[in-house]
Symmetry: C2
Subunit: 206 residues, 2 copies
């Protein structure tokens, strides 16, 4: 299987999300321009993405919604589901934990870690919070491959090292710290303050 462009992958996630809605609204087929309208993008982009995943619609009938959902599932999901852990159960971390689980069938947070004894060895939103010194052990034992990093920024480099040793293959970094990860780990930066400043700049610009 070839690797899809990053932007296409992002859009596939969104296609699937809105397709679920349209199917529960009773629709069976959808045109590229309809899907495009739902996501505020262009119909060409929809068609191109669908081309890239090797699916074909029916001329003048559009795309079969169920087929499309299932094909996107084949591409994005793993059959057994992807397991994630969240490190740092503070304000942001616990907000994400509560919010996220249940959103996606094949992707769930199954462990949390913190250093604060008030939080460890308790259950939050159905998820066990372990002391952070058990990070490697638990991640290996449970086969976790995705980590969400919501510790204080100065802690993140150390944690990342342990994560790498534990076999984690993808990290979502919410801390405002540029992380150094080995090549085989996919890193997604999620830096809110930077994004805010960027928006402020483009406001200023017009």
């Amino acid at each position: 299987m070839i690797t899809l462009p990053e932007k296409t992958v992002e859009r596939l996630c969104k296609y699937r999300r809105v397709l679920y809605n349209t199917i529960s609204a009773g629709k069976q087929h959808i045109f590229s321009h309809e899907l495009a309208n739902l996501l505020q993008i262009t119909p060409v982009q929809v068609r191109r993405d669908i081309m890239l995943i090797g699916y074909s619609g029916t001329l003048r009938k559009g795309y079969d919604i169920k087929d499309l959902i299932s094909l996107i599932g084949n591409i994005l999901d793993t059959p057994e589901g992807q397991k994630a852990a969240i490190i740092g159960l503070g304000n942001l971390g616990s907000s994400i934990l509560t919010y996220f689980n249940g959103k996606r069938a094949k992707l769930s947070i199954i462990a949390a870690f913190d250093i604060d004894p008030q939080k460890t060895n308790r259950v939050f939103g159905g998820v066990q919070c372990y002391p952070v010194d058990r990070l490697e052990e638990v991640i290996k034992a449970q086969g976790i491959r995705l980590a969400i990093l919501t510790v204080p920024a100065n802690q993140s480099p150390d944690i990342v090292e342990v994560l790498a040793m534990s076999g984690v293959k993808g990290i979502m970094n919410f801390t405002p710290k540029a992380l150094h990860v080995p090549d085989n780990i996919y890193l997604e930066e999620y830096d809110m303050v930077t994004s805010m400043e960027k928006v402020a700049y483009f406001i200023k610009q017009n």
Copy 2:
């Protein structure tokens, strides 16, 4: 002033952040490769960005850190500061509110809005929470031009319409809903679930 590429703007924010650290560590000049190391990017990219903002370093001495910080400030900040509002003071909204203020000198959240009477007409983290039906009035009165959207997803289209009428020029959207905004509003999507699925895909891929 010409408009800088989006990616360059993002990096400028990050340059400034790490430059503050290096200056408090007593350094006065910095080489492109040093700055690059701090952010895990390439030295060429640093040099090109600095070229784009029209600054010049000294050969074999590097860039003057104070000059660079101040120039980046001229580009990113407005002298009077940019005012932001947050709409929806739930889990995520209040987490952001507490976190954000104080982070940037020229960018602050000065008003919050909610629909819940338990939350309105109170002060959170030093910020007044208004009932959402006063959105337009307050935003206009206070000259707010940036909005952070953390309401339930189904509410966001309506809110966006009011925001547009109120003169808001930039929106950070944390809701998983594709928004339709007029051309003169800069929209930044911040869709966590999509990002998580993307990471999961790239984990699966290698």
